[in-house]
């Protein structure tokens, strides 16, 4: 049975790759302004948007203008979402009569969805009206993902262009990201999910009578559309708090498979978009290799951990030692592990099981996935950006070791690139550590933990890495809807998002201005095994060195204690 399930896991991964490759090339065309098969439908809509918003399509921006547009757009979205949440009681579509959202919670939710984190400190189905979900949340699910896409694309342009300060137009990239990328595929996925039995209705509740004759309120709503974009846009915020473990969000193994694919789909495709944009698919494959390598290693560890007999259960005399705690029976262990691995590497944050109940080693892998800065495929757009920042770091050291001024993709790496790579990759680590430390000296934070010792430590560490990494998945067991977590969490999510975004756009600007070195220059090409080794080593070492002590006293210690060592 397990072998069959493993086959399914492999099949899902290969199917994703097969779809991602052509889609990546399609995205390169979209962001390059080329004609695609969608143009007929979308071009008029696109033009309408530009006319409506007064955007001149051909006005290219330098990095500061691009960043300013990004910030402006973020600010607008934030204010609107925060306002909706604060007054949702009086807005239409409130069949269950939900009240307004408390200000600190509202702040947290607004930050969370505008930063593409989708950390949910409250149960949405029990506190957000369909209006808030559709007009507030769902819109951000699209546009925060599209904004991330724009950032990733802008950075790639920095590499692909030379002697210019222009890196594209944010508004155009944003519009195209929504119209040509997110809307069409989320539509396809949503229809698929509806077929699989995911509800899509404007009615919020169904009154049912159970077989015991009691009355039960079953919450439904526009679930399918919400779910498809939450998976595709590395959002992860479910319609229901139980997220992908909820039978309405994820009813069947098939819906589970397609959702897992959806998590990885765009981030993986973007690697090929990158290859197409710089005109060398081999380089895309080499980044792909780095990602899939780390992905499979992590996946293997979690699968091993989850399938090994749980020592606690074994000692308690339970016959089957498989760690089914916190997992849906209908998915089984491999699929749950695959989802867990996918959702943490891709800064998605949706879950189809409870990570809190996974084995400590899985927790360790998940935290590691997030602290590396979400680069193993990573969040939509920003994952690619972080991976390129890591490449800058790796190539800087590698370039020195061959006695040349380091060069990446024919661009010389200087002080500017170094500063921003460090800001983008290392400052988030610092913030995770500091916020976690602040948590441990704050009594109200400590009272939110549901466990003591290593497990409690992991809960807090996981929460902070998840928020700074803009992942949004919860370890579970942490009562997060407190002013402390809402506020520090907002800061964490903002910092995590902007550290990456500002760095990526600044580097894009700095690189675009530079001339390209000759194509035949004797540098380490991105395709060389030496570079791949170097990049892998830098990603692992940065993560490992920063969090060695934390991982040791958190998940590792728990694992050792559990194993009775």
């Amino acid at each position: 049975m397990i072998a069959g399930e493993l086959m399914v896991v492999a099949l899902i991964i290969f199917a994703t790759i097969a779809c991602a490759y052509p889609f990546g090339i399609y995205m390169a065309k979209v962001f390059g302004g080329e004609k695609t098969f969608m143009s007929k439908v979308m071009r008029p809509v696109e033009n309408f948007f530009y006319k409506f918003a007064g955007i001149k399509e051909n006005d290219k921006q330098n990095w500061k203008q691009y960043l300013k547009s990004f910030v402006l757009f973020f600010g607008l979205g934030f204010v609107i979402l925060f306002a909706i949440l604060s007054v949702q009681k009086w807005l239409p579509m409130n069949p269950s009569g939900f009240g307004n959202i408390r200000w600190d919670t509202g702040l947290n939710i607004a930050t969370s969805f505008c930063t593409n984190t989708n950390w949910q400190s409250v149960s949405f189905e029990a506190s957000l009206t369909p209006f808030s979900q559709m007009i507030g949340i769902a819109v951000q699910n699209f546009v925060s993902a599209a904004a991330g896409l724009a950032v990733g694309v802008a950075l790639v342009r920095g590499f692909a262009r030379k002697n210019t300060d222009k890196i594209g137009n944010f508004w155009v990239d944003l519009t195209r990201g929504v119209l040509y990328v997110l809307v069409p595929i989320s539509l396809v996925v949503a229809i698929f999910l509806v077929w699989q039995g995911v509800p899509q209705t404007l009615g919020n509740t169904i009154q049912a009578t159970t077989i015991q004759g009691q009355s039960q309120t079953i919450i439904t709503g526009p679930v399918a559309s919400q779910v498809s974009i939450k998976m595709l846009g590395s959002n992860g915020g479910g319609y229901f708090n139980a997220n992908g473990a909820h039978p309405f969000e994820n009813p069947t193994p098939l819906s589970n498979a397609i959702q897992t694919m959806a998590i990885l789909f765009i981030p993986m495709s973007l690697l090929f978009t990158f290859g197409k944009m710089i005109g060398d698919m081999k380089k895309a494959w080499s980044l792909f290799f780095v990602c899939i390598f780390l992905f499979v290693i992590g996946l293997s560890i979690t699968m091993y951990a989850e399938m090994s007999p749980n020592p606690v259960l074994r000692n308690a005399g339970v016959a089957s030692g498989l760690n089914m705690e916190g997992k849906e029976m209908r998915f089984g262990i491999p699929s749950s592990a695959l989802w867990g691995q996918s959702t943490t590497v891709v800064s998605n944050g949706s879950v189809n099981g409870m990570h809190d109940s996974f084995m400590p080693l899985s927790g360790l892998v998940y935290i590691f996935n997030m602290i590396t800065g979400e680069v193993i495929f990573g969040g939509v757009g920003v994952g690619l950006a972080s991976l390129l920042l890591y490449s800058i770091l790796a190539m800087f050291i590698a370039g020195l070791m061959i006695g040349k001024t380091p060069e990446l993709l024919r661009k010389k790496l200087g002080v500017n690139e170094m500063v921003w790579a460090c800001v983008g990759l290392l400052t988030p680590c610092i913030v995770v550590l500091i916020l976690t430390a602040i948590g441990f000296v704050t009594p109200s934070a400590l009272s939110s933990l549901s466990a003591k010792g290593s497990h409690g430590f992991s809960q807090l560490l996981y929460a902070n890495t998840s928020m700074v990494g803009n992942n949004g998945s919860a370890f579970g067991g942490l009562a997060a809807n407190t002013p402390f977590f809402n506020l520090t969490g907002s800061f964490a999510m903002l910092f995590g998002r902007f550290a990456t975004v500002v760095s990526a756009i600044a580097v894009a600007g700095s690189l675009a201005k530079k001339n390209q070195s000759p194509a035949n220059s004797t540098q380490i090409p991105m395709t060389s095994p030496a570079f791949v080794v170097m990049l892998l080593a830098v990603i692992i070492i940065v993560g490992a060195l920063t969090f060695f002590p934390s991982l040791a006293i958190g998940p590792l210690l728990e694992h050792l204690k559990m194993a009775g060592m």
């Binding site: 200087g414 460090c422 000296v441 080794v533 006293i553």
Partner: protein
């Protein structure tokens, strides 16, 4: 200049002193990594004194603080040593000059004897035979034979004369014969040597962009580790474990990239030292590093690729002419030819005929026809024979006038020589052409090898020559030059440099003439010959004291070495951290969580011995690596990928494994000595 050993007593003594002087935070400020170690050491020391005063045991704290201080001192020592060596080298160049007397021509024309140190720019001095040239300058009058051995170590004297491209003289060199009027081009403190000294003095040295970028990475890593260390006691407090300050301090210093942080300034300075020991004065550190990046090199043909003069390599007789007869005639005809080409025919003929120099006697009653630029041939009239040797068209005219003609075989030989990059000369006897001399550009020894090394580094060599394209192509092919620019004029150099730069190349060029100055200034790395004109030297960013153009390879090599050494030590430094974590983390939690003892894979004896061993390793690795930092990592031409893999293997994997072994060994010693 004799090769100096790395550690001479005097320099080491000064450096040891210097490493204490540099403990001053104001000077440590330039090295942030070490500044933090300094602060941490101070904190541990204060705590140690507190423990001592309050009567608690402080042996462990004492040992840790001593080793922490040594970490800073070792780093200071590395920098001071590199500086000292550079200074010593520069000073030895300068001493010659400091006591020099100069004969300065005053405005009224009188001559006044002044000290060389008072000379200012544009002063005119007179230097006579046997005197030392007081400062750098240009010859305005006269020609002289100059001994530059004080600077270049080359014992053969060189000719310098006014006008032309060989008018530059350097302070400290000696006039062997002749009298010169020199316009001083550098006042006190501005000469190349002064410049050089400021390049090796840490405090005045400008950091290169690459160095700054690396330093940013080191500072960022340091900040991360600072956070790791500061948050750790908070985390451990959650588990009810207190971590003493001394242990946190040890963890921090071990994790920080102290190895590369401590050696970084020394690496840059030592690079300058090495260049200086190869008699190249770099006028900016940036240029030295840029030279590692150069991918196009413009080389003048003459003097760089070929020896200055063409030489006869073979004589081809026409049908029916005895080869020995041809040699004899060629020899006779060249007796009156004083050009290097003529002399080379002479020596080739003598060699073939097996006669020695003194056996040659000019035939009696012979009339010599010397070589001139007008007649373009030389020869001898003896016993009614008119033997001539000269350019093809000149001889053709000559034999025509005597009623002869050029035989077909000679024509074919002439054509084929020209096609192969040689210069044909024709030998005639009366109206008969008897043979053809093949004069060839003689490639410098090893030039093929050096150029192929350049190619391995991915550097394209471009030859610049005034020759016609045919000749140029032939020489380029023979030498293994990648590309050439034939019939080049001075402005061609500048234009081609710009063209290469637009395509993203980094260009190096070597020049000596005044008309090279714009191109030298435009090139990313411009190397001026010391013998060259002042304007060339001012436009360049490096001056080669030996005036040896193939020095560029050394410069490129040094530039690369600096970068490689930096990269390798950074990799090493970071890779080291893994082992230190495995030593220190289980030690910190040994009491609270014995489970974490599984991380103690080195089986270090006790928590204290583990921490002390890590700190000791961290400190002594710096002096251990000083020789590597000063000499630079040996550099072999190989493909970039291979080099990277080799370096990852040696410094990455080596840096990962070495501390495991070393810390274990130190731990055994520490335990054996009963230090903890």
């Amino acid at each position: 200049m004799a090769k100096k050993s790395l550690f001479t007593g005097e320099i080491v003594k000064t450096a040891i002193l210097g490493s204490f002087v540099r403990l001053n935070p104001a000077s440590l400020w330039r090295n942030p990594v070490m500044l933090i170690v300094f602060v941490v050491s101070s904190i541990v020391t204060v705590q140690m004194f507190y423990l001592a005063v309050t009567g608690q045991s402080f042996g462990f704290e004492l040992q840790i603080s001593i080793w922490l201080w040594f970490t800073v001192l070792f780093a200071n020592f590395a920098e001071a040593l590199a500086e000292g060596r550079g200074n010593a080298q520069a000073q030895s160049l300068r001493t010659n000059r400091s006591n020099t007397i100069a004969n300065k021509i005053e405005h009224d024309g009188s001559i006044k004897t002044v000290s060389a140190t008072t000379l200012k720019k544009d002063d005119i001095v007179i230097v006579s035979e046997g005197e030392i040239i007081p400062s750098d300058g240009d010859i305005v009058h006269g020609v002289a034979l100059i001994d530059e051995s004080a600077i270049t170590g080359e014992s053969a004297p060189v000719v310098r004369e006014s006008g032309g491209d060989r008018c530059g003289v350097t302070g400290g060199t000696r006039v062997l014969s002749g009298k010169l009027e020199i316009r001083i081009t550098a006042g006190q403190g501005e000469t190349f040597i002064d410049h050089m000294i400021s390049m090796v003095e840490g405090a005045k040295r400008m950091k290169t962009p690459n160095e700054i970028a690396l330093e940013i990475l080191l500072i960022a890593l340091t900040s991360v580790f600072l956070c790791v260390t500061v948050t750790l006691p908070v985390f451990s407090n959650f588990f009810g474990t207190q971590i003493p300050v001394v242990i946190l301090a040890s963890l921090l210093v071990c994790l920080m990239p102290t190895t590369i942080g401590g050696l970084l300034p020394a690496i840059g300075i030592a690079g300058m030292d090495r260049l200086l020991s190869r008699n190249v004065i770099a006028l900016s550190g940036r240029a030295v590093e840029a030279s590692g990046d150069v991918d196009v090199v413009l080389l003048d043909k003459t003097g760089t690729i070929t020896l200055g003069n063409r030489q006869a390599v073979e004589l081809i007789p026409v049908d029916g002419v005895d080869e020995r007869h041809l040699f004899r005639c060629a020899l006779l005809s060249s007796l009156a030819d004083d050009t290097p080409e003529g002399r080379s025919i002479l020596s080739l003929s003598k060699e073939k005929l097996g006669i020695k120099g003194r056996d040659i006697k000019a035939p009696e009653l012979a009339t010599f026809v010397p070589y001139t630029a007008e007649n373009r041939m030389s020869g001898i009239d003896v016993e009614g024979r008119k033997i001539r040797k000269g350019a093809f068209d000149a001889i053709e005219q000559f034999v025509h006038s005597l009623g002869g003609s050029i035989p077909n075989k000679a024509r074919i030989a002439v054509d084929s020589i020209a096609k192969n990059g040689g210069t044909p000369l024709v030998v005639s006897e009366g109206p008969d052409v008897i043979g053809v001399v093949n004069l060839k550009d003689i490639l410098k020894e090893n030039i093929g090898h050096r150029l192929s090394q350049l190619r391995k580094l991915g550097i394209v060599s471009v030859m610049i020559t005034g020759d016609n394209p045919l000749t140029a192509a032939a020489i380029a092919a023979e030498a293994g030059i990648d590309d050439f620019i034939a019939q080049a004029r001075p402005e061609t150099k500048l234009a081609s440099i710009k063209k290469y730069q637009e395509d993203g190349h980094l260009v190096a060029m070597i020049g000596d003439g005044t008309n090279d100055a714009p191109a030298l200034a435009q090139a990313d790395v411009g190397v001026a010959m010391n013998a060259g004109t002042q304007s060339a030297r001012e436009a360049a960013n490096m001056v080669d004291l030996d005036s040896n153009p193939s020095k560029l390879l050394d410069i490129v090599e040094t530039g690369k070495q600096i970068l490689i050494t930096r990269g390798a030590l950074t990799t090493f430094s970071i890779a080291n951290d893994v082992a230190k974590y495995f030593a220190i983390i289980p030690a910190i939690f040994a009491a609270t969580f014995p489970e974490l003892g599984i991380l103690n894979i080195m089986h270090l004896a006790t928590p204290h011995s583990a921490i002390l061993s890590s700190v000791i390793f961290n400190a002594i690795i710096i002096p251990t690596l000083i020789p590597l930092a000063l000499k630079g990592i040996s550099y072999k031409a190989m493909t970039a990928q291979k080099m990277l893999l080799v370096n990852i293997f040696v410094f990455g994997l080596g840096g990962l494994l070495l501390p495991f072994v070393s810390i274990k060994l130190i731990d055994m010693i520490v335990v054996a000595l009963g230090l903890v």
